[in-house]
Assembly symmetry: C2
Homo-oligomer: 621 residues x 2
């Protein structure tokens, strides 16, 4: 390990320590299963200064549990290991032999650098498991057998939360009506039961991405009748400096609320860094295996073969990747439909496959071997994320024939996947103006049989580079409301460069906003409880509670302190907007006293008196 390496390691170890700090006034709490008593679902409880508590969904994993002993060289403790073992349908085996090419190394020998990286966290190498011959270990398969797995109960508890708001919710029928939202066809029960989760997974309307080789994952569901989820993309550094750096990126993303993380690394050492990421990730990890396959053939798309791709799938499935983006819906016959587009094919995976199809003038091997792929997926419970290789790259190309032709093929493939009980979600665009978003959701629901939709944005306009997290959060909120189950984030650097740590946070917060706006609009039970608690704190001048209930307590507090830095201002009954002399919130208190003194009666009297006569509009001057 040379000097820069050790400096970088130190820097990221410090960052990681910071990233592990619990949120202010927050405590990790756990709810236990009933069907499966060893299910223990973490949540974040926020304690308010008035004694109330608000418990929120928590994606941050053991990292924000102060008592957790975390060593990134050992990986996270297993959550699901016993559950998987109890099912008795898996077997450990030696696994595929790792080769230097997996890490982007030419020739057979690993260089010293790679050897050093591998030695750094040798304990992260695990012996893989797979389904026993003839068995299918997918959550969908269990669901269809009528089995409620621990994973399903976990998801049910997690979606419900502690529901401190429930008593008030039930007590106030009028309020409940306003909370009801407009689900636009979603069917969200007031209480998510384990049986409801099972049924949704069995129907294919939700997935629980959870590779049996990723026992560290805290199960979560992606589906229209659950909370809207978000995905953050991370990639390896040009020169990987340390395991701390790779893991810190992941921990940073889940701290701010990423429900899933896609590892889009390319280039050198990706196999080894993937081990680091998966072993240390409490959230499902997705990949685009064609990227690594392309690396293995030196970046020459036409040299790809089914055999190389298949080998890569098995490599990554053994490592524990939870879902694969596979662009199997891009068929040879679709390609010419893109010829007149303004921005052609902008999906990397899509363009790789288009190039392959053109070069060989034959049908995509992903399409031809789709059921072979299903065979691999169900042996590990890897979920499909069927890629939209022909998604529009500009407003001009939105909803065109190419895009929808591929979507229809994805619908066919969904049914094939379901024939194998393989969990499946569908990727969507991209760039879509506001008025064309509904058509995407309608087409997807119709042709893909309610398989969860997973969209990138969509961006509603093209003229906002530098702010595409905002341009796309608008579209994401809308399509989330309409039924999209997971939103892939866009950072401010989209179209311009590689996101840094701050960009990742900005992208995630923008997407937490979009997802929450959608949840509130759909009327997901309890989704408004946090808003109500925050607004109540605002009205009551409980400043610290207001900060602590925010999506980003640090920024909320820092912004407040820029104007009113003193601690006394945290309890002041005014704020920087109106200042102490005049405060609209204070006046409302007077309105309430006034109302208590019989305003309603006086108003009725006034109305009886004839209103207009009592306060006549003056004649025209």
């Amino acid at each position: 390990m040379n000097a820069p390496d050790s400096l970088a390691r130190e820097k990221f170890a410090q960052l990681l320590a910071l990233t592990r700090e619990p949120f202010p006034a927050s405590t990790k709490v756990y709810e236990s299963g009933v069907l499966h008593p060893d299910v223990r679902v973490p949540m974040r409880r926020i304690d308010l200064s008035n004694g109330e508590q608000v418990t929120v969904y928590d994606t941050s994993g053991p990292y924000t549990e102060p008592s957790a002993q975390i060593d990134v060289r050992m990986g996270l403790p297993s959550v699901r290991g016993d559950w998987i073992a109890r099912r008795g349908d898996t077997e450990a085996y030696d696994g595929r032999a790792r080769v230097a090419l997996d890490d982007g190394q030419k020739g057979d020998a690993e260089d010293a650098r790679l050897q050093a990286l591998r030695a750094e966290a040798a304990a992260l190498q695990r012996r893989p498991i797979r389904a026993k011959a003839g068995r299918n270990v997918s959550q969908m398969h269990y669901a269809r057998q009528g089995i409620i797995t621990p994973e399903m109960e976990y998801v049910a508890i997690r979606e419900n939360g502690r529901r401190e708001w429930m008593a008030q919710y039930l007590a106030d029928a009028a309020r409940e009506k306003r909370l009801a939202g407009n689900p636009l066809g979603a069917a969200i029960p007031r209480l998510i039961t384990p049986e409801f989760v099972r049924d949704e997974v069995a129907r294919g309307r939700a997935i629980i991405p959870a590779n049996i080789n990723h026992p560290e994952v805290e199960p979560m569901a992606i589906g229209r009748n659950f909370l809207v989820k978000i995905n953050a993309n991370i990639g390896n550094s040009a020169v990987t400096s340390s395991i701390e750096e790779e893991v810190e990126k992941l921990v940073w993303a889940i701290r701010w609320g990423a429900d899933n993380v896609m590892d889009l690394s390319t280039g050198r050492n990706i196999h080894t860094t993937r081990d680091w990421i998966v072993r240390n990730s409490p959230v499902p990890i997705g990949t685009v295996p064609i990227y690594q396959a392309l690396e293995k053939v030196g970046g020459v798309a036409e040299d790809l073969t089914w055999e190389i791709f298949r080998d890569t799938l098995i490599e990554q499935a053994e490592q524990g990747v939870d879902y694969f983006t596979i662009h199997a819906g891009l068929r040879l016959a679709h390609i010419h439909l893109t010829a007149n587009r303004r921005t052609g094919i902008v999906s990397r995976g899509g363009s790789i496959m288009a190039k392959w199809c053109i070069a060989h003038h034959r049908e995509s091997f992903l399409y031809e071997h789709f059921e072979d792929i299903c065979g691999i997926m169900k042996a590990y419970d890897v979920s499909f994320s069927l890629g939209d290789g022909l998604r529009p790259g500009s407003a001009s190309d939105a909803n065109d024939e190419a895009q929808f032709a591929e979507l229809h093929t994805l619908g066919e493939l969904t049914q094939l996947a379901w024939k194998h009980d393989v969990q499946t979600m569908i990727e969507g665009p991209g760039h879509v103006p506001l008025h064309m978003i509904q058509a995407n959701m309608t087409e997807q629901l119709k042709h893909c049989h309610e398989a969860p939709f997973y969209t990138l944005g969509p961006l509603t306009i093209d003229i906002a580079p530098g702010y595409d997290h905002i341009a796309s959060a608008i579209g994401a909120a809308m399509i989330g409301w309409m039924g999209t189950a997971m939103l892939c984030y866009v950072t401010p650097k989209e179209h311009l460069g590689l996101p840094d740590r701050e960009d990742v946070k900005q992208g995630i917060i923008a997407y937490k906003i979009a997802a929450h706006a959608a949840d509130v609009a759909k009327g997901h039970p309890g989704s408004r409880a946090r808003d109500d608690a925050l607004s109540q704190a605002r009205f009551d001048f409980r400043w610290m509670d207001q900060f602590n209930l925010s999506l980003d307590p640090d920024t909320a507090r820092n912004f407040h302190d820029e104007t009113l830095p003193k601690d006394s201002a945290k309890v002041a009954h005014f704020c920087s907007m109106c200042g102490p002399k005049f405060c609209s919130m204070k006046i409302t208190q007077e309105v309430r006293e006034f109302a208590a003194q019989g305003m309603a009666e006086k108003s009725a009297e006034f109305k009886q008196g004839g209103g207009d006569l009592y306060v006549p509009i003056k004649p025209v001057a």
Copy 2:
């Protein structure tokens, strides 16, 4: 002038000079009137590296015209002076005598500081004009007489732009269909004619805020059938340091695209700084006169009187304020409806009036004197912005009885204002979850007779303090699409503190995104031309064109340069996302060549061959 003053002046003079720099590759161009040859409408032409030009709407005024001689102590040149004079229906008069209290000074004597501030820009004092006795100088009045004013022709030209895109638009019927948008009831003609503007103003469906004492204004329209506009709020500094500082704030806001600016200053020296702002503003200036009236009575709401308020209206009308927010729809009988709200009354103006009504237990003097107010408005052509004093301050209070009761009263008042031919727009919320936004627009259209709607956001969730520009841009885009004519921005500091220069910019850009997303969705002709040009530049790797067409070219370029700083990267046929080895855009070029070689025929052949037989799905493994 003491030392800190002169330092501050120097600092803001430098900032102002920077803010005056033209945007990259941009030239201010002018289109002339036909009906009124002295109409000369500025636009910003962006010259692309491929020889194409894209002309965009320009709110920045003479500040970005390098040849303009600007002296903030003299004010901007008059745009409308001759037009107003030619109409022959106005008269100059001495105006109301200014008193020290106008600037928040107690007693009769002005202190030395105020005298110094006034002396700084003595040339900005103008002799006011007003309508001759019995005349009405509102644009609505002229419109209803069938008169197309220069202001109306100006607006028509401005809304159309140069329409370089028109030939392609007309040539490509299929593309035009996709451009058509979904106007949701708006009726936007392909070409905005002066007669169309006149008709919209006559119907009350659009306003042109343009006080006859603000001849510097570049006329613009606010209406559902025009481009969606945005408003930025500015306020005076706690201690006003210099005229440069006040004017720089304004110039900064219009540089980034504010169509209107509201001056929400309170406290000392506001009369004098308002002179500075109005005389140097090419965009309409709005105010909330009740704020200043409240200052005049020492901040004690119950001491407000109609006489003090009326005097303040005349004071500000003589200075040239273009629209007044007046909370005349908040009636005594509405107040008790807020008693059970989560966050009561959050509008400052609303809470002032509620307090007054409660203290006196009588109807609001604004409501009682509404037609007196109309008499003032039409003598100067000040437009109403009828305030929503009962707007919800949280999702929990959205669309409640209090809010809609006030809205219905605003509808009654609109008809009264129209009886006097006074231009009127209606303010709207606030905090509204996504699924409740449509009801706001529907109620407003129905009860306010299509008078332009002007909303603050709305914020779609409450848990995003620090990011409320994003939480509200989502709601703003949606309500803009549905028919709101102007969107009042929200900065990241909303609910937390006072926005600084960067916050103002962030708020404006978020709202330019929302407004543009709405324009594209509504199918405003030409609104998509800039998106298409930018996406084309992106696809062609014309990096500089991509930056220059952006809403914020500086940020786009800086973000790009963080990853690929070299000048050569600005012409590189790859970007930092995929890198040079593999590029999806390059592959699309190959797709096009492939398509040209007869892909379509081959595809047809393939389809004829029976598709599934030709590339059979393998049997289940």
